[in-house]
């Protein structure tokens, strides 16, 4: 008895020390998570603070008198006349109406510089579509010049330098007061391709390019990956060759992605003569890169199908093929899908291999098919981030946010699928 009691005493004494240890251990864990969370929050805060202005555009709304004499234009349907016409003049005239103090050719030219580069073509577009509007007054919204935009959004921000003259700044302030210059949601970002002009640049081209590329990747890597996984798990004999293949698949998953780019360049473009910068080649390269991930996760999913289910099916006389098709694959599907989606999300964020196959080109048009030149979101970000124009800085951050949204929704989809198709045995 006394022995037991003294033992209990020893245990009690050591308890405090043990609890202290435990608390310390828990603290380390919490600290690690805190650091991780803090960096994540910093990253997001930085991106959002830089990028949120990318979702805002600066516009100049004017009542423009489409005076045919002012534009030297009689028939808007005539392309020759259009090329000779001066579309800027009516806009400047409209601006001048708002700012009566402006006078002289020099000041007018300064005033015209507030307008975006494509203001003239906006009027031209209006007239091409509706020639009858000639010689009427229309309210038209123009994109402001990048410099105006920077001034409006970032006046007083030391990271941005204002490139407007004092006089121009005064005009802008006045126009802002009058509500002529205004800011609104940047629909341009989601409706246009790339541009040299930040105000006119959008990510639609990159999004479509990414989607096309991902479609190709999915169409190739998912069936091939699952077929390979099923074969290796269910049918392949256990021998040196399959061991060798297995080791190599695992190694392939660790190969730097740029190597896949080199491979794509050499094989698809060099050997097969496929065009550069197109989603098909990008998709093929990314498919190669994603395959090991899909194969490995699919094999894990197949392995986790309980042998009892296999036995049950075999026990009632199902053939190997039926066991696999009726039981193993449906039960492994959630795991396979999750693996594939995560693989796709990886591929979506991949830049390096695509640089090598020429998807880094400056492409204005939104791609219309798999064989159109295209760029993808991460490459677009890379392009904008390395661009010198001030307006592209916020655009790059905005594009990062778009990309992150895609990634997060893909991961959410993976989680949802897993929950939805959760193992039910």
């Amino acid at each position: 008895m006394t022995d037991q009691r003294s033992q209990a005493e020893i245990v009690r004494k050591s308890l405090k020390r043990r609890y202290r240890k435990e608390r310390r251990f828990r603290l380390y864990g919490m600290l690690a998570i805190f650091i991780a969370l803090a960096s994540l929050v910093t990253l997001f805060a930085d991106i959002i603070s830089k990028g949120h202005t990318g979702f805002v555009k600066t516009t100049i709304t004017l009542d423009v008198n489409l005076d045919s004499e002012l534009m030297y234009l009689e028939d808007p349907t005539d392309a020759d006349q259009r090329s000779m016409a001066d579309f800027v003049a009516p806009i400047v005239a409209a601006l001048q109406e708002q700012l009566p103090e402006v006078d002289g050719a020099g000041e007018k030219r300064e005033l015209g510089r507030l307008l975006g580069t494509y203001a003239a073509s906006e009027i031209s577009d209006v007239l091409i579509n509706n020639p009858e509007l000639l010689d009427t007054t229309q309210t038209i919204e123009f994109l402001a010049h990048d410099r105006v935009s920077v001034y409006v959004k970032h006046a007083g921000n030391p990271r941005y330098s204002i490139k407007l003259s004092e006089q121009q700044q005064r005009w802008v302030d006045e126009l802002l007061e009058k509500g002529v210059i205004d800011t609104s949601f940047n629909d341009v970002l989601f409706s246009r391709g790339d541009s040299r002009e930040p105000a006119n640049a959008g990510v639609l081209g990159a999004i479509v390019g990414s989607l096309l590329t991902m479609l190709v990747t999915l169409a190739i890597s998912f069936p091939v990956g699952i077929a390979a996984a099923v074969y290796l798990e269910e049918f392949a004999p256990e021998n040196k060759l399959t061991d060798f293949i297995e080791v190599n698949i695992n190694n392939l998953a660790a190969v730097p992605s740029i190597i896949f780019g080199l491979l794509g360049l050499a094989v698809f473009i060099g050997l097969f003569g496929m065009p550069r910068s197109v989603p098909v080649v990008g998709g093929l390269v990314l498919a190669l890169m994603t395959l090991p991930t899909i194969i490995i996760s699919s094999r894990a999913a197949i392995k986790s199908v309980p042998p009892s289910i296999r036995e049950a099916a075999e026990g009632v006389g199902a053939s190997k093929m039926q066991v696999v098709l009726h039981h193993v694959i449906p039960l492994a599907m959630p795991g396979m899908l999750t693996g594939s989606i995560i693989g796709m999300a990886q591929a979506l964020g991949e830049t390096a291999p695509l640089l090598l196959i020429g998807m880094v080109a400056f492409i204005v048009d939104v791609p219309g098919g798999f064989f159109d030149s295209a760029t993808v979101l991460p490459v677009q970000i890379y392009l904008w981030a390395s661009s010198s124009e001030q307006g592209f800085v916020e655009l790059a951050s905005a594009a990062i946010m778009v990309l992150l949204t895609f990634m997060i929704s893909m991961n959410a989809l993976a989680i949802w699928l897993r929950k939805r198709l959760e193992r039910r045995w």
């Binding site: 049950a312 099916a313 075999e314 026990g315 009632v316 006389g317």
Partner: protein, 296 residues
Amino acid sequence: MNTMNPSISAKADRRDQGAEIPVPQDKPEDTVIEEGKTVGKPFVNDPKFKLRNVNVSYGSDRAIKNISIDIGKHEVISFIGPSGCGKSTFLRCLNRMNDSIQICRVEGQLMLDDEDIYHSKRDVVELRARVGMVFQKPNPFPKSIYDNVAYGPRIHGLANRKSDLDEIVENSLRKAGLWEEAKDRLDAIATGMSGGQQQRLCIARAIAVSPEVILMDEPCSALDPIATARIEELIADMSKSYTIVIVTHSMQQAARVSDRTAYFHLGHLVEVNETNKIFTSPQHELTESYITGRFG
């Protein structure tokens, strides 16, 4: 004559059903088991299975050592023995469930109704349709109750019309004593049932393809006593129309359900006898030691 003194010091004696008893390292000293020699009545007239000189090995390990036994028509025979004695391995030879294990080699003569089970031209699928199996852990497919039972008939093309299939499902569930409980929720997912119900569903699934033989590999080891009693009752009912081979860890279960009992020991078939005989006066001293709880 010889000393029977297995130096076992295990204190706990919970011979509960399914409770795993420590592996038998202590076989009575000097007890020589002569390979291929089985005492009792291993052979019957007009057998369903005629098994002669069966050897099974995993690589270089011999799991089954020269076993010869008959299994009669419409007989319930149970295989008992300590863990690792080869009873499950032997059971799995009867419908070639060992095929998927690459290193497993089966030798000897295994005849089902005078046809060689392991003939190279023998179709495993056909064999398994005739020799069904119920496993240790209830393993219904994660599908509806209906689909579970209908799966076998579907893949074998036993029912061409929906009404035929419905009939097979109902009959099988009735035979498995599950119809009353399941008829209102045939579309419910099978894995939501209780363990005992799941196991009866597995039996229904096995009998849905109208097999001649049903192999049961410790069918009650995961079940509570009431569910176990239900299954045993079911086995008694089914013995009228099927040959049933059951591997069990519970000697009481073997005593309750089977007509004959076979005792396996380290890959040998030591004794086969009428169950009454085995449990009152077994002929071989190893059998006696095992069933009286002296080792195992």
